[in-house]
Amino acid sequence: MEGVAVTGMGIISAIGRDVEEAHFSLKIGKDGISYPDILSTIHQNLPVGEIKLSNSELSEILNLPEDHAYTRAALLGVYAIRELLENSGMERFPGDTGFISGTSVGGIDKTEEHFYNYKENVADRKYIQAQHPGFTTEKIAEYFGINGMVTTISTACSSSANAIMMGAQMIESGKLKRVIVGGSDCLTKFTLNGFNSLKILSENKSRPFDNEREGLNLGEAAGYLLLEAEDQMAGENILGRVVGYGNANDAFHQTASSENGEGAFNAISRALKKAGLSASEVDYINTHGTGTRNNDLSESVALKRVFGDHIPEFSSTKGYTGHTLGAAGAIEAIFSLLSIQNGKIFPNLNFSNKMAETNLAPVTEIKSKHIETVLSNSLGFGGNCTSLIFQ
């Protein structure tokens, strides 16, 4: 079996426009939560993890022609992969590079913007296909001239974690030597109003794992990793390795997680099994930890089931970025790799009291520690649960 090496990464989120900026924010505990400026919405009271660059600013940075049809998720995706390409040390991606991207809503920002205009305005019609997630992936592929295997996974909030998992399997099976994996999701009125209708958005900064948590903040981000077969690398440096992964379905409810955390329990167990690791070998867990009553409790129960009384140190980084939906798994994979590289656990922001039901406390101050193995969880609608293990 081939080793799966991470040889490049790129990220843009509310806490920074590259890996270094994100790392800096994580270290000093600086969140990127604000009120919406770029997203046009009446919900000005809902905090979001917004990237303060407009689409036209992004387009200019990326040197796109004025009449381009890139969705915001595509712009963010290209932005992040430009950084990935740069730090992989390659000039351009070789022709046999694959691309697997995760997104929850793809280009629905364009649909909500132009829904009433398509009938009259011919120029807007270039966005009609943009609604479907594959379009955003194709635009990113087009920018980098990736012509081979290109696909999109859309499993709500675990989308990009699943893209990383599939990429690792493509490499292990020898089907690809090199693959860009990750995901991109932007803030949209559709998702903001959707989560608001579910009454799981907090009007304050989210407080993952806190007893008084009152919901999540939505965010936007793009994060991508370059995975390569270790014996055939084109990238210069190994930033880490994907050693384990597992996906499981909660099979409980379309949106709510089960009380016993069955899906998360199975996903974590499968990832450990795949990695050939025992639970005690995990040094740190980057949790899904959205800050909703339901998720954090279910995930905590799952952790207790897997790790018993010896739960490794854990934190949710959603307090920094907001919940970036389909991109969350990928940006948290990058945070996990930063934890390993720098020997740091980044704190869980806004936490004060342990949950009555589980009595678990996340790490709340930055902590130095030798970290070899990180578990990262991503749990989504449709009962979709994914765990990844990085070393």
């Binding site: 829904f115 009609i128 479907h132 109003n193």
Partner: protein
Amino acid sequence: MSKVYINGVSSVSPQSEEIFENQSSKSYYQHILPALDQDYKSMIKPMMLRRMSKAVKMGLFCSKKALLEAEIEKPDAILVGTGQGCMQDTEKFMNNMLESKEGLLSPTSFIQSTHNTVGGQIALDLKCKGHNMTFTQNSVSFESALIDAMLQFQNDDINNILVGGVDETSYEFTGFQKLDGQIKTEPVNNLELLDSKTSGTIISESAAFFTLGTEKTTKSYAELKDIEIFNSIALENLEEEIEDFLNKNNTSVLDIDAVLLGKNGDVRFDHYYKELQEGIFSDKCQVGFKHLVGENNAVTSYAFWLASKILKEKKIPEIFKLNALHCKEPGKILIYNQYLGKNHGLILLHSL
């Protein structure tokens, strides 16, 4: 890795599944073809049925039938390809949100709008806690799910996988496809679609699901050999890419008995198929299906259903044939499809 067999199949489309036996096709004079109504109640509880969009209904119905045929109660993984996902619920929520100017909204349609609703609902119904994935890459969504199936079968714990493709239509969103040239503007009869000299095609809804297994059974249809997808292929490289794909599978153009081609009557892009029909596959039996079931992002799952039937029954019904060549005993079939010149997919199947 052990071989992968197709052990159960089921499809819902604008044509009856009996078309394979009786060759009686439905003819439509419309641009958007609905999938034929099914006896959904026979498989899904009426209370559940009321809440389900067409995609979920079609997907769950086909899933249960494909599992039943293979006599598998619970698969080890569920993989779904859907290019456009749950558009009906997405449209409902979008309409409500925009009309109310972000007013008070019911979450029901939002909950059911995510692309993995079909996969999630199947898992919920079957109480299946295994690997569950949804692929949404335009016309290679189903092919992507097949690629994942092959990856999952490398795990010794995985013996049976439910895999399928499904796409529904919705009033506004599908209607938009008339505005950007995806749908023909002039009236067209589906049975004459492939002779059309104009741009655009006809759009449909369909679903087809399969039970894939590592064990050959008395009911097995065929063996799934391999799948490959390409974001883009220059026309002049198409034959070479196909030959490479066949070579990788220790086979060659010579060995192929029939090709299933995704011709859809769009004069702008059908030359990809024409190139093959007049080139490397000129002396092969050529088969089409979009003149019967229309075009959609998951329609290659219908082609996969058709190929499975052809390989099991060892015959190609005339109604699907694009040329007059007779194929005595189809043994190796290649499915090739693209949409709007992008997202090309290749699927190779062998008879047993």
